[in-house]
């Protein structure tokens, strides 16, 4: 159990960073997981192609919410082009835990929302 809920994840879950909303975001996206009801919204402030501020809001399990919180810390100061390269392995490395197929979707929801924000999508392409 301690393997899944390592200290850093619980810390981000209990004390989320960048949680809330930006005054006037340039990019934003919202999505939820219909199976578990987890919700994530991400807002980005962008200057010259670089993320200068980021915020997330949402509700859900420790994995999804901690992932979003950690991701916010990772992306501020990075160019959008670099964020487009973030993949599943990046997220798993950031979390530093073994994660089974069922909980993987919890960890990947913030990534999906981030990708859609970065690409400026209105809705996720089916």
């Amino acid at each position: 159990m301690e393997a899944l809920y390592r200290e850093a994840i619980l810390d981000h879950y209990k004390h989320p960073r960048h949680k809330g909303h930006l005054a006037s975001p340039d990019l934003h996206f919202h999505d939820h997981n219909p199976f578990c009801g987890d919700e994530i919204t991400i807002e980005l402030k962008v200057e010259n192609g670089v993320v200068v501020d980021a915020a997330f809001d949402g509700r859900g399990c420790a994995i999804s919410q901690a992932t979003a919180s950690m991701l916010m810390e990772e992306i501020v100061g990075k160019p959008l082009d670099e964020l487009k390269q973030i993949d599943k392995e990046y997220i798993l490395e950031m979390l530093g835990i073994e994660i089974g197929p069922v909980r993987l979707k919890c960890a990947l929801l913030p990534l999906k929302v981030l990708k859609a924000s970065v690409w400026g999508l209105d809705e996720w392409p089916e």
């Binding site: 159990m1 899944l4 809920y5 619980l10 879950y13 209990k14 199976f35 578990c36 009801g37 987890d38 509700r59 859900g60 399990c61 420790a62 994995i63 909980r103 919890c106």
Partner: protein, 417 residues
């Protein structure tokens, strides 16, 4: 049936019962399995596993066709299962026991045949706010196509049906009252007799979703006097992929068929066809033969244990669990008190997300359900996104409830905010 299942009801005890379920010997990691997700699906006794194995090894053939020994044996086993299931729910005739894929398909069958033939704009279908999605969505789909009005009976704060406005909701416009016998989230057992009497006064037909009642208590469809009753095999010790629609004979005979194909016809000509008699009119194609036989074995098993014993066992366990869980800090139980409920308890624990809770419990070998349990409107009623649910069956013990309580205390420590 194995010898260990052939005990007199009075001698049924959980320790012996558990030996009939091979999976209960399993370990999850280093912890023995504590299976408390029975409202999702139950485990299967050896008698059911052997019935499936025996059918495929020794008798496998298609039914109702072919004049050869295997086909005759398969047909006899398949129809024998139907007879025993009819007896189990006290249906007046085998012909009123229609095999479906499960509760969901049973409701869809009624919606597509009876509903399409009888509902028109201006009519109303009345459901409740504690329905499983399977008793909401089929009516919404049909509503879009036909144009009737779908209404619902609300829930009281304590999780019972609020019948105070029933006179306004159930009127001569109501053509069908469709409701869950025992809620899969709240555990509430609804007052069937009272609702049936009210529906009869306005001439509405009645469909009851028995997915969470038939596995856990004695059910007599004639005593309940319902028009349609549906349930699933896999929640009552039987295989997945099979369930039953019981219906009153005159209604079933008047209903048009749903799916067309082999077995459901009496005569097919290129210019037109004539339908088979009940129950085959509603059983197009090769049925789930092994699964029906498996359900027959499950019904034999439950009959041998005794459904009164099952209900009594679960009530005792639920009372105990309700008291134990109520002592846990931050734990909130959804639904009524222990006396008015079936053998399940859905709850939230502080701000801990049910999926996190379920993950902690899993690490202790305990299987529960986490999520909205296919009943989002109930969760909306309580203002929560999801809940955790422990659901009991005949093989669960007080010790397992103690293990659940201890694991919940552990979750409280891990997620202490």
């Amino acid at each position: 049936m194995t010898e260990s299942t052939l005990f007199p009801t009075a001698l049924a005890d959980t320790a012996r019962l558990r030996q009939d379920f091979p999976i209960l010997q399993r370990f999850i990691g280093k912890k023995p399995l504590v299976y408390l997700d029975n409202a999702a699906t139950s485990q299967k006794p050896t008698a059911v596993l052997q019935a499936l194995d025996d059918y495929y090894r020794c008798h496998n053939a298609n039914v109702h066709r072919g004049v050869h020994t295997l086909s005759e044996e398969a047909t006899a086993s398949y129809e024998g299962a139907r007879t025993r299931i009819a007896r189990f729910i006290n249906a007046p005739s085998d012909k009123q026991v229609i095999f479906t894929r499960g509760t969901t398909e049973g409701i869809n069958l009624v919606a597509h045949t009876w509903g399409r033939a009888n509902l028109k704009p201006g009519d109303e279908v009345l459901i409740t706010a504690m329905e499983h999605h399977s008793n909401i969505v089929p009516w919404q789909i049909l509503q879009e196509q036909v144009g009737f009005t779908l209404r619902h009976i609300p829930i009281t704060p304590e999780g019972l049906l609020d019948l105070s406005q029933l006179d306004q909701l159930l009127t001569e416009r109501t053509k069908l009252l469709s409701f869950v016998h025992a809620s899969n989230v709240l555990g509430t057992i609804n007052p069937v007799h009272e609702l049936v009497a009210a529906a009869r006064r306005v001439g509405a037909k009645i469909l009851v979703d028995g997915a969470q009642s038939v596995p856990h208590m004695p059910v007599d469809v004639q005593a309940l006097d319902v028009d349609f009753f549906v349930f699933s095999s896999h929640k009552m010790c039987g295989p997945t992929g099979i369930g039953v629609l019981y219906g009153k004979r005159a209604l079933l005979e008047a209903m048009p068929p749903w799916m067309g194909g082999g077995d459901m016809i009496r005569e097919v000509k290129l210019s037109g066809s004539k339908w088979n008699t009940l129950p085959y009119k509603f059983e197009a194609g090769t049925p789930a033969i092994a699964e029906a036989i498996g359900l027959g074995a499950a019904v034999d098993y439950l009959t041998a244990v005794g459904m009164d014993w099952v209900r009594e066992h679960e009530q005792q366990l639920t009372r105990y669990a309700y008291a134990r869980l109520s002592q846990i800090e931050g734990l909130r139980i959804l639904g009524p008190g222990p006396e008015a409920r079936g053998g399940l308890i859905a709850f939230t624990l502080g701000d801990v997300h049910p999926h996190d809770l379920s993950a902690v419990l899993d690490s202790e070998g305990i299987a529960i359900r986490a999520g909205h349990h296919c009943a989002q409107p109930v969760h909306d009623h309580y203002g929560v996104v999801a809940s955790a649910r422990a659901s009991f069956y005949l093989y669960n013990t007080r010790k397992e409830v103690d293990q659940l309580a201890a694991a919940l205390e552990k979750a409280n420590t891990i997620f202490a905010l």
